[in-house]
């Protein structure tokens, strides 16, 4: 029993240390975003020689969203002769196929791919499409995204830098005003992109490719063997796979693109569980390579490790809470422990939620939208919600590894009204 109590107390100290490290990290990023040197992205380059692009849009039952994104891509200022659009119909059961075929008739650069494989999902779809894509640069959009006129050109310009092998734009919500959940997700994105991603780009750390509103060099990804189909977070996997080999990911804060966020807590729970499951698989696979690679400096390795652990931290904290309860009922939680628990909860709830308070506040300030930060206290509930479902995702990822079971992709529900589609 004495040994158990000692272990529990040591674990508490460990949790506090972890929280302190993440608190420092988030504050450092925030201060950098406000006071630090802001690194230039490549969007100002004007170059008459443009690269060949293949734009891949994985689709499963996307009849509500497909016309929107295809219409917008056809309005892009990127020369049609230099691009092809590859919507991948992944065995849809709605009218996605018919919609894609009608667009293909109208626009020859739209070349739908109709998959019949039982191996459904975004990652297999990407791997299969990579092999037939003609462009040297692959841009990926999820079907609910709404790219602007200059988006393709500005994303592609990052590849003028030969060390940049992947690029990521900024995701913003189109359905912000729907309900409390979408408003919280809007704030979360603000902190995550406007502050966190940009700070990591500024500091030469590990900005993340997010799997959409972004792209990569085709030949390089093919030479890496494509995407690992056992991992649901192909974006995070690519990020780390590139960095450990010395390549860069560029982040473009000014390349803003609307997406549709989940409007139901249940849908969000599944989404975040999937992200956690995928991200933690990346942790298992890349922790050692990140630490041992010769291509990253100390700070990049530190940031890489902290980024890898992001979806494990809520589970560590959940155990910390259980730990404190056990210590309390065994009478081992003295005053000092109370203070520690208070500090621990205070630090994490304040700074350590998914996109921490500090970052969200500053992000909203930089976006000149100050009223929405009144919702910040509600992040306490989002934090508890995230902690629970991210922990579930972590446990599932452990089971995935142990049982060698096949992971399956579950599409996030769309909410767009069909009658609002631009095609009509």
């Amino acid at each position: 029993m004495v040994v158990l109590i000692i272990i529990l107390k040591i674990y508490m100290l460990f949790v506090i240390l972890v929280m302190a490290i993440y608190t420092f990290r988030h504050n450092f990023f925030t201060l950098n975003r406000v006071f630090g040197e802001q690194k230039l992205y490549y969007q100002d380059i004007i170059d008459s020689e443009l690269m060949e692009l293949s734009i891949i849009i994985p689709m499963y039952n996307e009849e509500k969203t497909a016309p929107h994104i295809l219409d917008l891509l056809m309005k892009s200022d990127y020369p049609a002769s230099k691009m092809e659009v590859l919507p991948v119909n992944d065995s849809s059961t709605d009218k996605t196929k018919e919609i894609l075929d009608s667009y293909a008739l109208k626009y020859p650069i739209i070349k739908p791919i109709h998959r019949k494989s039982e191996n459904r999902g975004k990652v297999p779809a990407l791997n299969e499409t990579l092999k037939i894509a003609k462009g040297e640069i692959i841009l990926v959009f999820d079907a609910d995204y709404l790219p602007g006129k200059g988006m393709l050109k500005d994303l592609a310009l990052a590849f003028k830098d030969p060390k940049v092998c992947s690029v990521m734009g900024r995701v913003m919500l189109i359905n912000t005003s729907k309900n409390l959940l979408t408003r919280m997700l809007d704030l979360e994105r603000t902190g995550g992109y406007q502050v966190d991603q940009q700070a990591r780009y500024n500091l030469g750390l590990i900005p993340q490719y997010g799997g959409t509103v972004g792209g990569f060099r085709k030949e390089l990804v093919l030479s890496l063997g494509g995407f690992d189909e056992k991992i649901l977070a192909e974006d995070t996997e690519l990020t780390f796979n590139l960095f450990i080999k010395g390549w860069d990911v560029a982040y473009a804060n000014r390349l803003e693109c609307y997406e549709e966020a989940p409007e139901e807590w249940k849908v969000r729970a599944n989404q975040i569980k999937r992200w956690s499951r995928g991200h933690n698989r990346v942790l298992f696979k890349y922790l050692l390579p990140v630490i041992t690679t010769k291509h990253l400096n100390f700070y990049q390795k530190l940031d890489g490790v902290l980024l890898l652990f992001v979806y494990l931290i809520p589970f560590i904290f959940l155990l910390g809470i259980l730990d404190s309860i056990v210590l309390f009922f065994t009478g081992e939680m003295n005053l000092v422990n109370y203070v520690i628990v208070y500090l621990l909860i205070g630090m994490y709830v304040t700074f350590g939620s998914f996109a921490p308070f500090y970052q969200i506040g500053i992000g909203a300030f930089l976006d000149r939208t100050s009223n929405r930060i009144r919702l910040l206290p509600f992040f306490f509930f989002v934090f508890v919600f995230n902690m629970w479902f991210i922990s579930q995702g972590f446990i599932e990822s452990v089971i995935d590894v142990i049982s060698f079971r096949k992971v399956t992709w579950h599409k996030t529900k769309r909410y767009r009204k069909e009658e609002a589609t631009a095609a009509k």
């Binding site: 100002d44 380059i45 170059d47 006129k149 030969p162 912000t176 809007d186 080999k245 803003e256 206290p377």
Partner: protein
């Protein structure tokens, strides 16, 4: 009773931080999606946009009087229409101006609003011009100052120590003199003083290394984690990606892009040819006899002398964050930008 009061006080303080949020949810003041900037990049945006506004106003309202009003994003503005040439000397104009002929503004004139000249424009010493769109050529004399932008369909000739505002763009040649200061330039080409006594002047393309008929000294296909230095002639095929710095002190040709985490320096080297882009996380300093077929991009400073970037059919860019110095014998076919100080000298 005390316990209940304590509980209520506790609940009140727990609840208090949520009050502004609840108000925001019940009566949203800031619930719209963040605005996305949807744009298509255009180096001559200011001039183009201004001309469009004027054209639309003409079509909509028709300007028959000498003084009319025009609606801009900033509100209604007075515009003076002059159907002939316009000459000014020590004038101060606080309204917009549309000149159908040529404009000649000798010394010390102030144009505090946008002007549009359908002919040629000449701005003499110490003129201050807020913004000007010119359909033909523009000459800016010494110490004249553009506050915001200048756009010409023809060429621009900028005199010594003139200031070219936030943006100076033209459809033809943009000639810069010593001491010109700028932020953003677009021309085809942008030229600094051509000094025939310099080592590089007059080198023909046929005298440069032809990568297709040259013996390649190195093939690159990996990232190098150290500094590199070329003191002997080199011909490289592939991208040169270095985490350190790069120094080139001799004849050099690369059929690929260059990226350096540190500085890139080419010092007084002849027959240097970059067939791709040159990108540095720090500074790029190049002097000698250099031809660049790609873009030049630095997170800190760029200093060029004896460098040609792009050609008449290939628009390219030179971009640096903090400082950009253009020395003699520089020709850039395309775009130049710095967030900091841009100066010729």
């Amino acid at each position: 009773m005390n316990f209940i009061i304590l509980i209520l006080i506790f609940a009140f303080f727990i609840f208090l931080p949520f009050v502004p949020g609840i108000i925001e949810l019940l009566a949203p003041a800031d619930d719209k999606p963040l605005p996305v900037k949807d744009y298509s990049r255009d180096a001559r945006y200011f001039g183009g946009s201004f001309r469009r506004i004027l054209k639309d106003s003409f079509q909509r309202d028709g300007f028959e009087k000498n003084i009319s009003e025009i609606k801009l994003s900033s509100g209604l503005e007075k515009i003076e229409i002059i159907s002939s040439d316009f000459n000014s000397y020590e004038k101060k104009l606080d309204h917009m101006l549309l000149v159908s002929g040529n404009l000649t503004a000798k010394h010390n004139s102030n144009f505090n609003k946008e002007i549009y000249i359908k002919g040629n424009a000449y701005f003499g010493n110490n003129n201050i011009i807020r913004a000007a769109a010119v359909d033909k050529n523009v000459e800016i004399n010494e110490t004249a100052k553009i506050i915001r932008w200048l756009d010409a369909n023809g060429g621009i000739k900028a005199g010594e120590n003139s200031y070219l505002g936030i943006s100076a763009s033209c459809g033809e040649k943009l000639q810069l003199s010593n001491g010109c200061r700028f932020r953003r330039l677009f021309g085809n080409p942008i030229l600094t003083l051509q000094d025939t006594s310099k080592v590089d002047y007059g080198l023909m393309d046929s005298e440069r290394t032809d990568i297709n008929n040259a013996s390649i000294s190195t093939y690159f296909n990996e990232i190098i984690n150290e500094d590199m230095r070329y003191d002997e002639p080199a011909i490289i095929n592939g991208n040169l990606i270095i985490n350190g710095s790069l120094k080139i002190n001799n004849e050099f040709t690369i059929n690929g892009d260059i990226k350096a985490g540190g500085n890139i320096t080419v010092k007084n080297a002849k027959n240097v040819n970059f067939l791709g882009n040159i990108i540095s996380d720090k500074t790029i300093r190049m002097s000698g006899n250099i031809k660049v077929y790609g873009n030049i991009f630095a997170q800190e400073e760029i200093e060029l002398e004896g460098v040609e970037v792009g050609n008449i059919n290939k628009t390219k860019s030179v971009i640096s964050k903090k400082k950009l110095i253009l020395g003699k014998n520089v020709a850039i076919y395309g775009f130049v930008l710095t967030e900091g100080i841009g100066i010729v000298g």
